[in-house]
């Protein structure tokens, strides 16, 4: 399959020996001679010396190492047809009650506007993806939803944000943040055991001091919902910082959803993770949205397409377009949106 792609564009300089009129073999990393190094050239058959790298062989073109196949790609996989691809996302739950409503929200740092006049509605049962190029204000908007922007002294705001009808600036900040939880880009589990991490918010938010026996079922339930329980159930007392990156991020998700918040905010949750962990967390987001409203900021358009029900495209602080995923990606109304989703800039 790789070969087919290489042949498709003759202007592509990364080309395997076709100017020497030979068929490069790409599936096989062991040419005659036994050397398995990538730098080993495909010279004329029978030539085994790897000292020909400088292309001093007769009529050799600039030497290009052959493409390696990796283990996962060895057996050709049937391509997922487009309609199947969409089915990877669990069937959209019916949109639930409205959780967050943004009315004409603007945020500025000092005298520089970061978010200009955004109005949105976020419902339970939906995943809203905030997409846009770097610096467009999507992270600022996300952090305003749980008033984390107040940690920056120069942040100024206008407009109203309502959680279940109440203005969030009239709620005590601690109560707001126990109802609107956040997961960060870099996994940040505390330097404690796994159990203590997940129980952290539960312990702090209750008036008295719950005992370990009381907390245990809640912790296990949160770990199950985050899809981490099976991997750590043998020892919940292990230090959380020993887990792998993907496990740490799932632990952070478990920690965030343990106190049963209403809204989950995720700031590029998979950007620091490998593809397998990314896939696990995307599946998780699909399941979590049944009981929560989920807002995900992502710069990965394909990811937004995979996981989101609604998409909001922001550009330089403005909310350019907002709608269902398929509409925004397939039939965007604004020209700027069309350029962005087609990759003209980013």
């Amino acid at each position: 399959m790789l070969r087919g792609n290489a042949m498709a564009d003759p202007a592509d300089p990364i080309h395997l020996g076709t100017d020497r009129g030979e068929t490069p073999t790409v599936e096989h990393v062991h040419p005659a001679g036994g050397s398995a190094t990538v730098e080993h050239l495909h010279a004329a058959p029978g030539e085994t010396s790897s000292a020909q790298l400088d292309g001093s062989g007769a009529g050799a073109s600039p030497s290009v190492p052959p493409v390696r196949t990796i283990v996962l790609d060895r057996a050709p996989l049937p391509a997922t047809p487009p309609d199947e691809r969409r089915a990877v996302r669990p069937a959209a739950a019916a949109s639930g009650p409205e959780r967050l409503r943004l009315e004409d929200v603007s945020i500025a740092y000092g005298s520089k506007p970061a978010v200009k006049s955004v109005s949105l509605s976020i419902h339970q049962g939906e995943v809203l993806a905030l997409i846009g190029p770097s610096g467009c204000g999507k992270t600022t908007l996300l952090r305003t939803l749980n008033r984390l922007t107040e940690l920056t002294p120069s942040a100024a705001r206008a407009g109203t944000i309502r959680l279940d009808g109440e203005d969030i600036h009239d709620l005590p900040d601690t109560s707001l943040r126990s109802r609107v939880a956040m997961v960060f880009q870099q996994p940040n589990p505390f330097p404690m055991s796994i159990f203590d991490n997940v129980a952290f918010a539960l312990r702090e938010q209750s008036r008295r001091r719950p005992g370990r026996r009381e907390l245990q079922p809640l912790v296990i339930d949160a770990l199950r919902r985050a899809g981490l329980y099976e991997e750590v159930k043998d020892d919940l007392g292990r230090p959380a910082l020993r887990l792998s990156g993907g496990q740490q991020q799932r632990l952070c998700i478990a920690r965030a959803i343990a106190p049963r918040p209403e809204v989950l905010l995720m700031d590029e949750p998979c950007s620091a993770l490998d593809p397998i962990s990314t896939n696990t967390i995307e599946q998780l987001i699909g399941e979590l949205r049944r009981e929560l409203a989920v807002v995900v900021v992502t710069h990965n358009l394909a990811q937004a397409r995979r996981i989101a029900d609604k998409v909001a495209f922001m550009y330089l602080g403005d909310l350019v377009e907002y709608g269902d995923t398929e509409e925004v990606f397939e039939t965007p109304r604004a020209a700027r949106t069309r350029e962005y989703v087609q990759g003209a800039f980013g």
Binding site: R177, P191, S193, Q205
Partner: protein
């Protein structure tokens, strides 16, 4: 041969030379322990472990030793240093306990609660206070605090109640502990502030995002993460308190008395005392008398041992605290 020295040295020779010079430090340290131990041996040989017991007051023992000749009889080495041990432990434990509590909370104040301008002024002042010489603190104590306590706080009846044992001049436990606390607190505060600022802010942000108020976030996450560094700061401060001689010699009243609660709490606080380190300073003139000299070296050996035990304790305390940290 000079030419050979002037050419650039090969690395192996350079390494050996540098290593040899560095070993000088080890030689000095070993020499220090050996010298002190050798000079201290006669006292321990005669007294054994009862050296730390109670009996004749150290003052009279020292005075007798000062009068001895160059080759004193074995009985001249008699010493019972329990009052000195008691005084040392009393003020060290009290000062470190108070300073620890004050330092942790003051550091939390500086790092989290203080307005920006106050913070900018406080941190250099703390560093300045940490490097003030101990004799200056002693001067402050002996010229300001001791007269204040002696003239205004100690009542005549209190003086009369212990007149047959000691004289309450104001120089004593209270002033010593107060000044010692003020002396060791700035070091602890400076180190603790550094430790709190070095904790990654992502943890604090995560705690706030989970709905904790800022003070709770600091206590539950930042202070907890900085525990090993705080323990190290406390060990450093304790070592400094143990070894403090000049300031204590100036304000402690310099009498080997064991303060007790027989006559009430206030008399206990005003009682004079003497510590190991201040004893060395007080009796330094008589060091040429072998018996006295040996006793002073014995005290020094004990102080060395104390410093060593302290650093081991610090290491052991930090061990379980590091369990949950990042590895490698």
């Amino acid at each position: 041969m000079l030419a050979r020295l002037r050419k650039p040295w090969p690395d192996s020779r350079a390494e050996r030379m540098l290593g040899a010079v560095s070993c000088l430090v080890a030689v000095i340290v070993v020499g220090m322990i050996v010298f002190v131990a050798v000079h201290a041996w006669p006292t321990f040989a005669h007294n054994g472990l009862s050296w730390l017991g109670s009996g004749e007051s150290p003052e009279s023992s020292f005075e007798k030793m000062q009068a001895t000749s160059v080759h004193p009889p074995a009985s001249a080495y008699h010493l019972r240093a329990w009052p000195l041990l008691y005084g040392t432990l009393l003020i060290t434990v009290a000062a470190v306990a108070f300073a620890f509590v004050v330092s942790v909370f003051a550091s939390i104040f500086i790092v989290e609660l203080a307005p920006e301008r106050l913070r900018k002024v406080t941190i250099p002042v703390i560093r300045l206070l940490a490097s003030v010489p101990s004799v200056v603190y002693g001067l402050l104590g002996v010229l300001v605090l001791v007269p204040f306590v002696g003239n205004h706080l100690v009542t005549a009846s209190q003086k009369a109640s212990v007149a047959n044992e000691v004289e309450l001049t104001g120089a004593g436990l209270l002033v010593t502990v107060v000044i010692l606390t003020v002396m060791i607190a700035p070091i602890m505060i400076a180190l603790t502030c550094e430790a709190l600022s070095a904790v990654p802010s992502s943890w604090r942000e995560g705690a706030i995002a989970l709905g904790l108020n800022p003070l709770r976030a600091i206590l539950a996450v930042t202070v907890r993460a900085a525990r090993p560094a705080i323990v190290a700061a406390a060990v450093l401060a304790t070592a400094r308190a143990l070894g403090e001689a000049i300031m204590i010699s100036m304000v402690s009243g310099s009498r080997s008395f064991t303060p007790n609660l027989d006559h009430g709490l206030l008399v206990f606080l005003y009682s004079p005392l003497r510590t190991f380190a201040s004893a060395i300073v007080d009796f330094r003139e008589g060091i040429s008398a072998p018996a006295l000299g040996s006793s002073l070296y014995a005290i020094a050996l004990l102080l060395l041992l104390g410093a060593f035990v302290l650093s081991i304790c610090g290491y052991l305390i930090k061990l379980p605290l590091r369990r949950y940290e990042v590895r490698g």
